[in-house]
């Protein structure tokens, strides 16, 4: 008799640094619940990460982020059946850690004169 021993696969939060797509999605959803194209638009903007993401990359990333517990569907749809997503608590924490990391890197670069004072 074949006995299969099952190992529970657990979703684990991604370690920082995050991929550009995941970071851009988290940053976009930090402002509130959004649907797919809205996230893509935010990511494309310079302040959103400047990531040109297509629907395949977006929903592939959202799929993995949902499995990792970073985002979840709100369960609401609009008149065109767009699906909306929001950050979970874990997603907020991961974003905060990543922002801290980036802030520390930018501060260090500024202290070394690699960035102009007051520059972005």
């Amino acid at each position: 008799m074949w006995m299969y021993i099952s190992i529970m696969a657990k979703g684990t939060a991604p370690a920082t640094p995050l991929t550009p797509a995941v970071f851009a999605i988290l940053l976009s959803l930090a402002e509130g619940d959004k649907h797919g194209y809205h996230i893509m638009k935010d990511a494309r903007a310079p302040q959103g990460g400047g990531i040109n993401m297509g629907p395949g990359t977006l929903y592939g990333s959202l799929d993995r982020m949902m499995r990792d517990g970073l985002v979840e569907e709100t369960g609401t749809t609009d008149d065109e059946r767009r699906r909306y997503y929001r950050l979970t608590r874990l997603g907020q924490s991961v974003l905060a850690v990543e922002l801290e990391r980036l802030h520390a890197a930018v501060s260090s670069a500024r202290a070394q004169g690699l960035l102009p004072q007051g520059g972005r």
């Binding site: 190992i7 297509g54 799929d63 949902m66």
Partner: protein
């Protein structure tokens, strides 16, 4: 440049067709939302559509490949699948080794049986004072060709005194270390290869026993041997059968794991 609604409809249809290239579970879960996002992009007045189409094509190519890889990983690369396959492979490897080792040992040890009796009888006769030339019948066995058991009597220094067998016209002598061992332990059972360097060297299943000296003589040794050609051919067959069984078991494990992984693959939420 704004696409006309007709052109936008065509592009959306084409995109809908391309979505069929994604793995089933992913497509089932996200295709409507992806199509909606593409539709929204086509309607976006601030988006340059010259840039949109190459972006979407690149995105399709990379994300389709990525999602298929993820599906393969999620289906066949699950730790439980790999763990089970590794355990079953280890068990089948152990079983195949046992299938080889047990018959191999039985055959090899069984190859000594006639020699044990021959050597014991001859030692007893020599220790009764019978001369080696009288104790050993004059039959001539060609060690390279014949499968018949044979005996050779050596003196205390390992020099041949009487022999039923020859190899290339001479009576072969085991290495001196073998005689030293027998001198201390009384008996040695070994696979002896008197001719080295040949492609199919003669291998002898040999029993060497110590003969105690009689009337102050220093004693000697009796070697009883038999060509192992036939036994080794059988061991070779056992090895082939065990090898084929092992490969077959690994194939069944691989196929069974793949089928099991496919039917228990993660489904779309």
């Amino acid at each position: 440049m704004r696409p006309t609604s007709q052109r936008a409809g065509r592009l959306e249809s084409l995109y809908g067709l391309a979505l069929r290239l994604y793995p089933g579970p992913f497509r089932k879960q996200f295709a409507p939302a992806m199509r909606q996002a593409f539709r929204d992009a086509l309607r976006d007045p601030f988006l340059c559509h010259r840039a949109l189409i190459p972006l979407v094509i690149r995105d399709l190519i990379t994300s389709i490949a990525k999602e298929h890889l993820a599906m393969v990983r999620n289906t066949f690369g699950r730790p439980a699948m790999i763990f089970n396959a590794a355990i079953l492979s280890a068990l089948s490897t152990g079983l195949a080794l046992a299938l080889y080792t047990i018959p191999q040992q039985v055959l090899r040890l069984g190859a000594n049986d006639p020699q044990i009796a021959l050597a014991g009888d001859l030692v007893a006769r020599l220790e009764q004072g019978v001369a080696p030339a009288d104790a050993v019948s004059p039959a001539s066995v060609d060690m390279a060709r014949s499968l018949s058991p044979f005996v050779i009597v050596y003196d205390d220094q390992g020099r041949p005194l009487a022999s039923q067998a020859k190899l290339d016209g001479t009576i072969p002598v085991p290495p001196a270390g073998v005689f030293d061992f027998v001198r201390q332990n009384g008996e040695e059972r070994l696979s002896w290869q008197p001719v080295r360097g040949r492609e199919h060297g003669v291998r002898i299943a040999a029993i060497i026993q110590r003969v105690q000296g009689v009337n102050g003589s220093p004693g000697g040794f009796v070697l009883a041997g038999r060509n192992m050609r036939e036994v080794e051919a059988r061991i070779g067959q056992v090895s082939q059968m065990a090898g084929l069984t092992w490969i077959g078991m690994l194939g069944v494990i691989l196929l069974g794991t793949a089928v099991f992984a496919w039917f228990t693959r993660p489904k779309a939420v």
